[in-house]
């Protein structure tokens, strides 16, 4: 198979932790097959290719681009636009690109708050001058620019057209491999769809399930759940009921509730809404006051609990910016 004939692959890392990059390597020796199968044109952490090389390529000349991370800065957005233009198939790789993930929870704060924490109040900071990065700074050689930090973190899908989504924080190696081979073999689902199971984690969860009634929600540190029965039935907020299967119920297997990194199943408009609706429905009380108490005491941080991975992709996307006093 000649070099030229190899399909071109690009991997990019925007606003994310880097776990996705490691996940790619977690396919272990198969990575060699990847290398053999593809001509990797861009992968900042692994190969020495420059953005300008990409810019020089004709549009649509990259066959597959695995894009991880959300859109937090103007640079992220620029790269997203660029890689969209240059790629035939753009894959939102992992939770950050798909629905914002943990960085998306920053949408609960105002940009100014974030800066204050990062540049002024961080315990490890020494910044008496209160220096902040500036989008523009004049130097003898001329004007230098830094990317600007957006008010709101957006998902890749909210920024450019995305062909496929690969869920997970990070995606599991085997799912990555399935996706890659699918792309290679060319038998792909409809554009815009998520490559993964169409049911939820419960199906992969070995625990026994009964009808549900919840009188109190426990936080994970509040009790050690029994190993065999459904965590939710024990009052532990397990997101498995609403979360796309594919991980093999990793967390419940080790007696820890699903936190929802695979996001919602097909056709769901708002992941958190599914959880809220389902959990509220099985609260075992008809007294408004008691209901409020059960919710307040058991779920002190509702957004963090229901939208841990999907706030940026949720219908409201972020906390209100001009919050009234």
């Amino acid at each position: 198979m000649s070099q030229a004939a190899k399909p071109k692959l690009a991997l990019y890392w925007a606003a994310s932790c880097g776990g996705c990059e490691i996940a790619v390597l977690a396919v272990n020796e198969k990575i060699l097959d990847v290398a053999a199968a593809f001509d990797v044109v861009l992968w900042p952490v692994a190969v020495d290719a420059k953005v300008r090389d990409v810019e020089k390529m004709p549009d649509g000349s990259i066959d597959v681009c695995l894009f991880n991370g959300g859109i937090r800065t103007s640079e992220n957005e620029y790269m997203a636009q660029l890689l969209r233009r240059k790629s035939k198939v753009l894959v939102a790789f992992g939770s950050c690109a798909q629905e914002g993930c943990i960085p998306g929870l920053a949408n609960l704060s105002q940009r100014e708050e974030i800066f204050r924490t990062v540049y002024d109040e961080g315990p490890s900071l020494d910044n008496p001058a209160g220096t902040r990065p500036q989008p523009q700074s004049e130097v003898p050689e001329g004007t230098l620019h830094l990317p600007i930090f957006y008010e709101t973190l957006r998902t890749l899908g909210q920024t450019v057209r995305v062909d496929y989504y690969l869920p997970g924080c990070p995606p599991e190696a085997e799912n990555i491999w399935t996706a890659v081979t699918a792309i290679l073999s060319g038998n792909l689902p409809a554009p815009g769809s998520v490559i993964g199971s169409d049911t939820t984690v419960c199906q992969e969860c070995p625990r026994t399930r009964e009808e549900k009634k919840i009188k109190k929600f426990y936080r994970t540190w509040e009790k050690i759940p029994d190993e065999t029965t459904c965590l939710l039935e024990q009052g532990i907020l397990c997101c498995g009921i609403a979360t796309r299967a594919g991980c093999g119920a990793l967390c419940p297997q080790v007696n820890s509730p699903c936190i929802g990194c695979h996001g919602p199943t097909e056709g769901v408009h708002d992941y958190g809404a599914r959880l809220m609706s389902a959990l509220a429905s099985v609260i075992d009380s008809n007294e408004p006051e008691e209901i409020d108490r059960i919710i307040r005491e058991g779920i002190p941080d509702p957004v963090g609990s229901f939208y841990r991975f999907s706030l940026a992709a949720s219908q409201l996307r972020r906390k209100r910016r001009a919050v009234p006093a």
Binding site: Y78, Q136, H145, I148, D270, R274, S277
Partner: protein, 166 residues
């Protein structure tokens, strides 16, 4: 408080087929007047109301959302309105954290005979939301003007870099 007196809130109302929707019908037949701000959507039961609908309404620019069902214990489907009550509590809790005032999301009960009561509840809510002012949710997503400049700056710098190389 709204600084704009001419502000007419847009409120979405969800009514159950058996009690509250009929209460609204009764308000009509009895020619009871109330503000035009509420647009009613019919579902079979308040138990059908999915938080997704409420969030969707807010995201699409509703200033407030009202849910109306049969009185507790009088649900046409025995006790499904209690599920609505629970979801209301849950969603209210989340909306608080998202910065949406309680006055913008209400759950009211109205039996088929309570056209007057429903009309009053609507009037009251409209007044309250008028005071709260517009919500205009999507405005929260806007970046300030710097965004396009910044993108252009990157494009420009990269272009320069190319020239240097060339």
């Amino acid at each position: 408080m709204s600084d704009n007196p001419t502000f007419e809130p847009k409120i979405l109302g969800f009514c159950c087929n058996w009690c509250s929707y009929r209460a609204a019908d009764l308000a009509g037949t009895a020619r009871i007047k109330y503000p035009t701000n509420v647009r009613i959507i019919r579902v079979m039961c308040s138990g059908r109301i999915d938080p997704t609908f409420v969030l969707n309404a807010f995201a699409l620019g509703a200033d407030a959302v009202m849910i109306a069902g049969c009185h507790p214990g009088e649900c046409h489907y025995v006790d499904q309105n209690y599920k609505a009550m629970r979801r209301y509590g849950m969603l209210k809790h989340t909306l608080r954290q998202m910065g949406i005032e309680e006055g913008r999301f209400r759950l009211v009960w109205a039996s088929a005979a309570e056209g007057q009561q429903l009309a009053e509840a609507i009037t009251q809510m409209v007044d309250e939301v008028r005071k709260l002012g517009p919500l205009a949710w999507a405005a929260n997503w806007q970046e300030n003007g710097q965004r396009l400049e910044a993108l252009e700056a990157i494009v420009h710098e990269h272009a320069e870099a190319m020239e240097v190389l060339a």
